[in-house]
Symmetry: C2
Subunit: 458 residues, 2 copies
């Protein structure tokens, strides 16, 4: 490992220069004016993989291409699938950037640019750690398989099909993704659970036109009132979701999890103060972190009915619409709960209205064993690189590719976040801390032999 | 009276021509491009009053002018204040008019034009009946005082002040307004009650930005959910408003009213079918007409929160806003109930939010004795002109000038509607039935001696 450390140290400046070259490519997947930049970024990614000693290719899809990279496949070694994405969020609003989004700037120990942490910087740590191994050892302790897409920021429309079409080639023992965050500055984290989601739009239609609330109010069912009654019924006064069977399949928090999370450096007062509120409201009996990470929710994401402009307009609205989504946790079943939500709403509809429910995309929750051999391997690698053991956390959002990896490829994922919550993902002045780039690369380099030992097939 | 009948008959064609001249003036008060039309309409109104034998003048205000007309004031006669308005609603959407809105067209026994029934046609019946009296008798059985404004369709901003400034000149024994509707075709009506109103906007603010519903959902108070819970709490399952004290001052329906309304030719199935619904929902124990005319309500007029565009966006919204209004009946107190509503909402606010309540304009409910001498006078006049006795009804909306007349001038109003619900008020193809124009004028002519007898000061 000394050779690895030495190589990483000697090449740190070059790695940073190459990251900055990568960040200069304005690979905005959402904006068709950047199509040639997307091609350039895909080729740059491929060249990085080749430089790391891998076979690599740019594979066309119906959208932006996918880049694949492979080490020579040794049957006696475990195979690690490394996922990342070379596309970035649109940089707007441009005038809020201190330096231009695609002209990387080094300041205060950070590199500032769109994509710095999401995901070019984090992704590059794995490519560079592979390069370190191949250049110093001519070989790797594991088989690596890079799958790097260009549509993560626009819904990964072509990824699932690609996985299905290539599931044999992509067969692997564990997946690694660095597209999440540390728990705090200098406190690395491994994310072992993600929430799933169901979402729908509910449209209530009452009278065939907005009505004068004087002439008709009182006799006609008001769709906005009826919608409010439906939405209010979704929770009891203790913040518990009232959809029948909602909690039946929820896997309870373990005592170990609750104890570990209670020890995390998390200050609810600071959490709420940052959001500009004094307090929160949620399911009784759980802490804010538990509510976000391990408990299911039901949230109204949007509402619209009747007069939304300035001043009064005394009407009974013709329609009322709500967007509703539930975050789910293992082992809740998204399709069963979407049906239960629909039944719940239909059963409570006031007379004189029609209801239309339009389902939106859903997603499976995932939860990995935080004590699996691969998790322990990752913990050791990170502790060695960062000098501090990672905390084991969950995340309240969804990362669809993680559910897809499990469903289509049957592989579990290690979510190893090198970024910081303060790195301005999806916002102006996105950045990546240089020390996190270096120690992320080091942790990745240490991970490969740890995974060989943990998953070893010999 | 034979002379009156003969005069009206002989001059019917001329009256119609003059109505059509009146309708040709595009007196759209809301549209500053029509300012000169407003001046023309005011002068036309004044000239009509002069032609009817009255002293008349155009009085400037801070907005559109008010037109006043007076007969010679005989102290031994009761004084009748006649209110109307010469301004009209904007005619848009223009392409839905079969003939242009300001080119009156005679079809199927109707005159079609913007303002035909609201209010030029209805107003003119009173001017023409006065003309009939002065031209046939040289005199009137009552003193008449016309007050005709040009801002009814834009909120009558300058009317209250005008009333206060001229309350002595405007002192009168009864007011007459024809700006309402018959109960149905060939079924005239006298409206003896109007609902009042309170209205406000409620703004809930939670987190200082829209939040990712995955990362934050469950721990943060969702303003849209909280708003729904407030709005849902406004009614119980029987449709009764839950604001404390809400019904305390409600004057109950009399047995006579309930019996008379039950006899009205009102078909709930047809009422709901016209609105495109199968049923309604309202306060238990009351019929649809009772709910609209004589019971108070609480309606949501508008809602907006979070994502209102297409598709999903999984956020916890930062804000949620509702417009709420309550229709009030005698003897509810608008300002006390606005406070009670505010207290009701504040008491139920979930933690983690701030609430701002912006009150909108309010209005007093009014209820006149349907058995007063003036009411009986109007009933006799209408029955004689229409050949059928008017039904005594209330109306669920508000006519602010009626409350102002009572509050500022201390005078009660006879609301004598000559229009039809099918006359397309405020819509394309507004019209006024020619027979209603003629018999409305006749009823007005019969009203003056009836009022002299009923209110006579001799």
């Amino acid at each position: 490992m000394e050779r690895i450390d030495k190589f990483l140290e000697e090449n740190a400046d070059r790695f940073l220069e190459e990251l900055m070259d990568y960040l200069r490519i304005a690979s905005v997947s959402a904006d068709s004016r950047h199509r040639s930049d997307m091609q350039r970024a895909a080729k740059f990614t491929r060249d990085q993989l080749v430089q790391a000693g891998l076979d690599a290719e740019v594979v066309p899809t119906d959208g932006h291409p996918i880049v694949l990279g492979r080490s020579r496949r040794e049957p006696d070694r475990p195979t690690v699938l490394i996922y990342g994405h070379y596309d970035v969020q649109p940089p707007e609003p441009l005038d809020e950037w201190q330096t231009p989004p695609f002209e990387p700037s080094l300041r205060d120990g950070y590199v500032y640019a769109r994509g710095a942490t999401d995901d070019k910087g984090q992704l590059l740590t794995h490519i560079k750690s592979v390069e370190a191994w191949t250049r110093t050892h001519g070989d790797l302790p594991v088989n690596v398989l890079f799958l790097i897409e260009g549509e993560e920021e626009v819904g990964s429309d072509n990824l699932e099909r690609f996985l299905s079409d290539h599931c044999e080639e992509l067969a692997s023992d564990v997946a690694v993704i660095s597209d999440t965050m540390q728990f705090g500055p200098d406190q690395p984290a491994i994310t072992y659970g993600l929430r799933g989601i169901i979402a729908c739009e509910v449209r209530l239609t009452g009278p065939n036109r907005d009505l004068h609330s004087g002439s008709f109010g009182g006799a006609v069912t008001n769709p906005a009132t009826a919608l409010a009654r439906l939405l209010a019924a979704l929770h009891d006064d203790q913040g518990r979701v009232q959809i029948p069977g909602f909690y039946d399949d929820v896997r309870p928090l373990t005592e170990q999890e609750r104890a570990e999370w209670a020890r995390l450096p998390f200050d609810p007062a600071a959490f709420f103060a940052d959001l500009g509120v004094t307090d929160g409201w949620g399911e009784a009996g759980y802490s804010p972190l538990e509510r976000c990470w391990a408990r299911p929710t039901c949230d109204v994401n949007g509402l619209v009915s009747g007069h939304t402009g300035e001043g009064p307009k005394t009407i009974v609205p013709s329609t009322a619409v709500a967007k509703i989504s539930c975050r789910l946790v293992p082992d809740q079943n998204p399709s069963a709960l979407l049906k239960a939500l629909e039944q719940f709403l239909r059963a409570r509809l006031l007379p004189g209205l029609t209801m239309e429910i339009v389902p939106h995309h859903g997603g499976q929750p995932v939860l990995f064993d935080p004590n699996s051999p691969a998790m322990h391997a990752a913990r050791r690698a990170i502790e060695r690189a960062f000098g501090v053991a990672p905390v084991m956390i969950r995340e309240g959002g969804s990362i669809p590719v993680v559910a897809s990896f499990r469903e289509i490829l049957g592989v579990d994922t290690l979510l190893l976040g090198w970024g910081q919550n303060t790195d301005n993902l999806h916002s102006p002045n996105e950045r990546f801390r240089l020390i996190d780039f270096r120690r992320g690369t080091r942790a990745s380099a240490y991970l490969w032999p740890e995974l060989r030992d943990a998953l070893g097939k010999g």
